[in-house]
């Protein structure tokens, strides 16, 4: 954006703001104000409530609930579970993020096949899925807690390194890497600030704000969806739901957010 364009934009945004406050607001502050105005009635709460009901509901061939699911802090512990994920799990001998762990629990506890458990990863208008709701419920139970992801197990360390490699890997028809947009300060897509995920402060702020209710889509979007859509925007091959690659990239980003206070499900434009 040229300085002249920026000036015009500033004028444009300043006009309505000036009536309310003396100081003209920057574009970023305007967006923050918009988010704050929306935050009070965040429809993510509807997903959280539905997720809690699904968590306790007896489902699947074994007619069992997910209440004994071990999300990383012991069977049945939901409080704070999201702050330690992704994590290595002995029973599956894999590093799992929240979504893949939920799939594992649906398979182990409820008797679904992996295909059934993974069938509907993302909701769309008119199609409500259990996964979104469960993600909303579990993550809401970590609100206000500090991210604390470990890489002490060799497989966790391996996933982190793989995720890091993916973050900087350039490819696809645009010759893009995640780092192309998310490794530089002050990058934007239209009016959306892109966090520089190589910086701790930005990484914390970004990771702890997902999942989120997207106003423009009217849906609650999980972190798996966020990565899936980043891959689509980069014109990379489709990122398969709960694939080892998706978990590795999540591991890299989650670990980099350690120490940040988790504050989601949030609301985004």
């Amino acid at each position: 954006m040229t300085p002249i364009q920026r000036g015009i934009l500033a004028l444009f945004l300043a006009a309505p703001a000036a009536a309310l406050a003396q100081q003209p607001l920057t574009a970023v502050e305007e967006i923050e104000r918009y988010r704050a105005a929306l935050a009070d009635g965040n429809p993510a709460e509807l997903w959280e409530a539905r997720g809690e009901a699904i968590w306790k509901e007896k489902r699947g061939p074994k007619n069992a609930s997910l209440e004994q699911c071990d999300l990383g802090r012991g069977p049945g512990v939901v409080k704070g579970a999201y702050t330690v994920l992704p994590k290595y799990f002995k029973d599956t001998d894999k590093v799992e993020d929240l979504e893949s762990r939920l799939v594992s629990c649906m398979v182990m506890l409820q008797g679904f096949t992996p295909e059934q458990a993974k069938k509907d990863p993302y909701g769309s208008p008119g199609k409500k899925v259990a996964m979104d709701a469960l993600v909303a419920y579990v993550t809401s139970e970590s609100r206000g807690m500090k991210m604390n992801v470990a890489t002490s197990h060799p497989k966790e360390a391996e996933a982190y390194e793989l995720g890091k490699k993916m973050f900087y890997f350039r490819g696809g028809p645009h010759d893009f890497a995640c780092a192309t947009c998310h490794g530089v300060d002050n990058q934007r897509i239209r009016l959306q600030d892109l966090p520089n995920l190589t910086k701790q402060e930005d990484a914390q702020k970004a990771y702890t704000a997902w999942p989120a209710y997207r106003v423009s889509q009217g849906e609650l979007r999980s972190f798996q969806w966020r990565l899936y859509d980043c891959f689509r925007q980069q014109r990379f091959p489709e990122l398969e739901f709960v694939s080892p690659a998706s978990i590795a990239l999540t591991m890299f980003l989650a670990k980099n957010s350690n120490g940040g206070t988790f504050n989601a499900p949030s609301i985004k434009r």
Binding site: D40, G41, P43, L46, A49, P125, G126, K128, G218
Partner: protein, 103 residues
């Protein structure tokens, strides 16, 4: 069957402030699907709020209201422990009623 509403009712000064989130698609009837066919209109038409059985708010809504709508209002004469009941009816005749206690 529609999903439950999320209702909060709190005293703010001498008034009761009610905040309601409703789960609804709120289709305008103007949009088309991937095949080009019109997606039929489907939206909440009537909303009523009652306080201990007495109507304190009655609204007629149209397709301009957003998906998963949020409604906030205040009324006088309530006290902690009172019941606030919200009911919506959509254009397909589907209905949902939920209740909250004033805190």
């Amino acid at each position: 069957m529609a999903d439950p509403m999320k209702i909060r009712a709190n005293m703010v000064g001498d008034k009761v402030e009610v905040k309601v989130l409703m789960a609804h698609e709120m289709e305008t009837g103007q949009r088309k699907d991937a095949k080009g066919a019109t997606i039929p209109a489907w939206f909440i038409q009537n909303v009523t709020a009652t306080h201990n059985g007495k109507t304190v708010l009655s609204a007629e809504w149209g397709p301009a209201v957003a998906k998963n709508p949020f409604l906030s209002f205040r009324f006088a004469g309530g006290k902690p422990g009172d019941k606030v009941q919200i009911t919506w009816t959509d254009n397909k005749g589907d209905k949902r009623t939920d209740e909250a206690t004033v805190a």
